[in-house]
Structure formats: structure tokens, C-alpha cells
Amino acid sequence: MKNFSRRALEFSITFFLAISINFFLPRLVPGDPIKLIAGDAAPQLGKERIAALRAQYGLDKPLSEQFMIYLKQLAHGDLGMSYRYSGGKTVVEVLSENFRWTLLLVGASMLFGLLIGSALGIWSATRRGDPIDFGLLSGVYILRAIPPFWLAMLLIPIFAIQFHYLPAGDSYSIPRLEGWENVKDVARHALMPILVLTLAYLPTAFVIMRAAMFGIMESNYIRTARAKGVPNRWVVLKHGLRNALLPVLTSFMVDFGQLLGGVTVIEAVFNYRGIGNMMFEAVKSRDYPLLQGGFLLFTLTILALNIITELMYPLLDPRLRRTA
């Protein structure tokens, strides 16, 4: 449990850091924050109007006090108002509408990427040095060099425009369909983004699994198992894979901060209704509160996944159960 509390502390520090980035970044940039808020209209504003705006956003108070106010609002789940919707929507509302779509894409492609990548990694590791290993390794190297968004830009004209087989973008048809038809519709829309993201996540899982299995397959207990006459398949899956799972999951999670961000670009290409595309749109309209909210949500997701992984360790490794 000592390890866990240490990790919990680290996670809270990271979260605090993300919050602080959100607060200080706009204030560190040269230029008046009012200009950022008012945009092109800034020069037309009179001195009094600017002073009023400053007071409204609390910018006339000292920085430390501003930070405390910001933290207090955050604790109440208040991320401010989004600029983009003139009807008035809070950032939290916009985020919760979009988050499920990102979760769908990331969840499915992470699952497929991990499963397929690991399976190929095991296959490659057990055939070390022969053409299958060589072929898989070259394939993964090439796949790693391909920009995922470019792959998406090639799939759309082929599958959506040429063959009219899949929709070119968005998360569902408008008007929305009912019941089972709706499920099929959502799946059809998600298919291409999930495919691209799976291909983007797959190499990481492959490389990690292949390296982990290499190490394990040469260890003494594997040799013992083989000497006992345990069938090859059983040696690989029971003795090898069981012990590779923990390092693979740990390394995959370390890289996940980098991987999760990739969804941003893919959502933008497919015009998918997730957080990433929302941030991309928010860039165009300079919707700062929404951008900060999106960043915070991404950080939280990564932290949550890390905590879940941490909690899964005892399930995967019995040695960790005793100390817990």
C-alpha cells in the first residue's frame, strides 16, 4: 500500500500541475489577456470598458488571489463559459457532450491495438530471426512512419467517396436513427477512425510485447517448462505471456500520454464529435476556456487510466498481492 500512496501523491501533483498550466499559461504569454478575450474588438474598447472587463474576469486582483479564486471555482466543477455558443453553454456541458465519443474511439482502438499488437508481438518473438519475425518487424517499422492523419485522408476518398461504403465524417447520421439502426449507424461512423487509431496504437504494443517475450522466453523457468515436456503453445501462453503482461501494460501506459493525444488529429480529419475535434474547432474560434477544459479532461483521463492500471497490478502479479 506504501507504493500506492506514493503513486497517489504523484498523480495529485500531476493534476495540480495541469491545473496550474491552465491558469498560468494565458497569464505568462506576452500581451494583455483582455486582448485575448476581446479579440479583434480590443482596439475599439474604451479605457473604462477595459477596466470593467478586468474587474469582471477578476484580472485586477493580485495573481495569488486570482489563483485561489480559480481553484475554488474548479473545486465546484466550474470551468467557466464557452465563448463559442452565444446561447451560453458552460465548458462542462460541452465537454460531457463530446467526451463519450472520444471514449468510444479511444476505448475500442486501445483494446484492438493492444490485443492485435500483443498477439503479433508474441508471434514474432517465438519466431525470432525467421521470415515471419522479419516481415512483422518491417511492417511495424513502416506503420510507425506513416502519419495516422494521412492514412485517414487516404481512406476517406477510397471508402467514403469512391465506393460510398462508409460515411466520410461525423459521429452519426442526421436525423438520428432509432434503436438498433442507430447502433449500426454509430458503428459505421466509428469504423474508419477506430481502424486508423488501432493501426496507430498497434506498433507500440507490438514492440513492447516482442521485447518482453524475448527476455522471458530465454529465462530459466521457461527452459524448465520445456524440459518437463510442456507443449509449446502452453509454454508461450501460460508461462511466457502471464509474466509479460505486467511489463507490457506498464510500458504501454507510460506511452499512453503521447498516444491519447493522437485522437485529436484523427477526430479532426473525420470531423468526429469528440474532445479532440472540439479543441481543434476551439482553436479557430479562440475559445480559451474550452481549450483549457479539453486539456484538463485529457490529463484526467490519462491519470484515471494510470490509476486503473495500478490497481490491476495485484491481479496480474500474485507477488504484489501479499504486500498489499
Binding site: 504523484e10 501533483i13 500531476t14 500541475l17 495541469a18 498550466i21 499559461l25 494565458p26 504569454v29 485575448l36 530471426g129 522479419f134 517499422y141 513502416i142 510507425r144 512512419a145 506513416i146 502519419p147 492523419f149 494521412w150 492514412l151 485522408m153 487516404l154 476517406i156 476518398p157 467517396i161 466520410a168 507510460v254 500520454g257 503521447q258 491519447l260 493525444g261 493522437g262 485529436t264 488529429v265 479532426a268 480529419v269 479532440g276 479543441m279 481543434f280 482553436v283 479557430k284 479562440r286 480559451y288 481549450l291 483549457q292 479539453g294 486539456f295 485529457f298 490529463t299 483521463t301 490519462i302 491519470l303 494510470n306
Partner: protein, 282 residues
């Protein structure tokens, strides 16, 4: 002693070494080609990529072998001109990132104690932060430009090299020659800059190549999102404008989107192959 034929000799080289050699030559060949494009774009490109030379959105023809973009600029010339920005970004980012990584890795690995604890916590933090969303956030505040992309990528990419170099330092710090240097009265700075640096140097060179490859890929994503210099020519920016003008909804994807992405892939792959072969040779 019998005379060995070439095939005979080749068969004695184990597959990994043959693979490493193949990777090195293929990678080097492609990279040299790209360097020629970057240094002498005017020799290869038929037109000035910033000038309107034909009607916009032309199909490939005798005048423009890859057609023209939405502004009537020659796409082939643009493709050649984009090489410089992409390679330059990759090289600068990797040099900065590996430089920071080497210093952090050496200090963390050799000094240990609270320096190590602090530096490693910082790397953990950077790893957990969502890369692209944060980059989008920073670019929005700093404004879109190639310089800002370089800054932002460097901030993220020093972490990997730092960890690897720290690990290498940890395994060499108690070697006898380091101990001897310490016994002779060398101060930590001398040991780090002299002995330890020479032991991690090959690793640092591999990292320069691999980070360059990763940052060219990342740069293309950022430029594609419109966070790069909109007037500068880079492959990511070309794809950004291809998307903006709906090139992939028409046949234009074949001569606009396809070659541009291939250039990115080839460059990233060539650096990856060189990195791989260097790693194998270590």
C-alpha cells in the same frame, strides 16, 4: 584455404546484421535524396513554389507534373520546397532535446540523491501530460509559427533520451575507470563531461536520429492542424490546405495528398532505419 565467394561471405552474416546493413543503406540513400531536396530545391523544382504559375486545382499535366494547388502553385515544386522545413524542424528539435536529455541524464544518473529524484519526477510529469492537446493549447497562446512548434516539441522530446542516458550512466558509474578518475581527484563535472559523456555518446547519437524521426512526424501533425506557419512551405501545411480545399473529396487526393504523405513517411522511415542500424551496431 579456399577462396570465398561473395554469396558465401554473405551467408555467414547473421540475419540481424544483414538487416542492419540493409537498413543503413536504404535509410542513408533516402536521407541523402531528401537532403538534396532541402539544400538545392531550385535545381530540382521546376517552379518557384510561392508563385502562381497556372490555374488553381489543375490536374497533373505536362506543365505541372503533380498539378496545382488552390492558389495555382505547382504542387511538385511545393513538395520539394517543403523538405527543408520538415528536415530543419526535425534536426533542430532533436539537437535541443538530446542536448537537454544528455545533461539531465548525466546529472540524474551520476549525482543521484535529490537531484535524481527531482529530475525523474519531472520526466514522469511530462510523460503523463497529454502531448497533442497541450501542444495545441501552447501554440494557441504563443501563436502559430515554426519556431513555436520547435520549442514545444523540444519541451516534450528530451524525456526519452534523458531516461535512456540515465540508465546507461547508472550501469557505468561504478566501473573501475570512473572510480579511478574519482580517486585521482577529478570533480563530478570532469567525470560527467569527460568519461561518462564518452560512454553515452553513441547512445546520444542514436537518439538524435530517432528523435529527429519522431519530431518530423509530430511536426506534420501540428502543421496539419494549422498550428504551423501558414505562409511557410512544409508537408504538414500542404496537407492542411489540401484538407481545407476539400482535395480528398475529389480525385485531387491522388496527386496532392498521396505524394505529400509519402514524403513524410519516407523521411521518417529513413531516419528510423538509420537509427535501427546504429542501435544494432552498438
Amino acid at each position: 584455404m579456399s577462396v570465398h565467394t561473395l554469396a558465401d561471405l554473405n551467408s555467414r552474416i547473421s540475419p540481424p546484421r544483414r538487416l542492419a546493413r540493409f537498413s543503413r543503406w536504404t535509410g542513408t540513400f533516402v536521407l541523402i535524396l531528401m537532403l538534396v531536396f532541402a539544400f538545392f530545391p531550385t535545381v530540382i523544382a521546376p517552379y518557384d513554389s510561392t508563385k502562381t504559375v497556372a490555374l488553381p486545382l489543375q490536374k497533373p499535366g505536362r506543365e505541372n507534373i503533380l498539378g496545382t494547388n488552390d492558389l495555382g502553385q505547382d504542387l511538385f515544386s511545393e513538395l520539394i520546397a517543403g523538405t527543408r522545413a520538415s528536415l530543419l524542424t526535425g534536426v533542430i528539435v532533436s539537437l535541443i532535446a538530446v542536448f537537454i536529455g544528455v545533461i539531465v541524464g548525466l546529472a540524474s544518473g551520476y549525482l543521484g540523491g535529490w537531484v535524481d529524484a527531482l529530475l525523474m519526477r519531472i520526466t514522469d510529469l511530462v510523460l503523463v501530460l497529454p502531448f497533442l492537446p497541450l501542444v495545441i493549447l501552447i501554440s494557441v497562446y504563443l501563436g502559430p509559427s515554426q519556431r513555436n512548434i520547435i520549442i514545444v516539441l523540444s519541451v516534450f522530446f528530451w524525456v526519452g533520451p534523458a531516461r535512456l542516458i540515465r540508465a546507461r550512466v547508472l550501469s557505468t558509474r561504478s566501473d573501475t575507470y570512473i572510480e579511478a578518475a574519482r580517486a585521482l581527484g577529478a570533480n563530478p563535472l570532469q567525470i560527467m563531461a569527460g568519461h561518462l559523456w564518452s560512454s553515452v555518446r553513441p547512445l546520444a547519437f542514436v537518439q538524435v536520429v530517432l528523435v529527429a524521426s519522431a519530431s518530423i512526424l509530430a511536426e506534420s501533425s501540428l502543421s496539419f492542424l494549422g498550428l504551423g506557419d501558414p505562409s511557410g512551405k512544409s508537408w504538414g501545411t500542404m496537407l492542411y490546405f489540401a484538407r481545407a480545399s476539400g482535395a480528398f473529396l475529389s480525385d485531387a487526393w491522388k496527386w496532392w495528398v498521396l505524394p505529400t504523405g509519402l514524403m513524410i513517411t519516407l523521411t521518417v522511415l529513413s531516419l528510423g532505419l538509420i537509427g535501427y542500424s546504429l542501435e544494432q551496431g552498438m
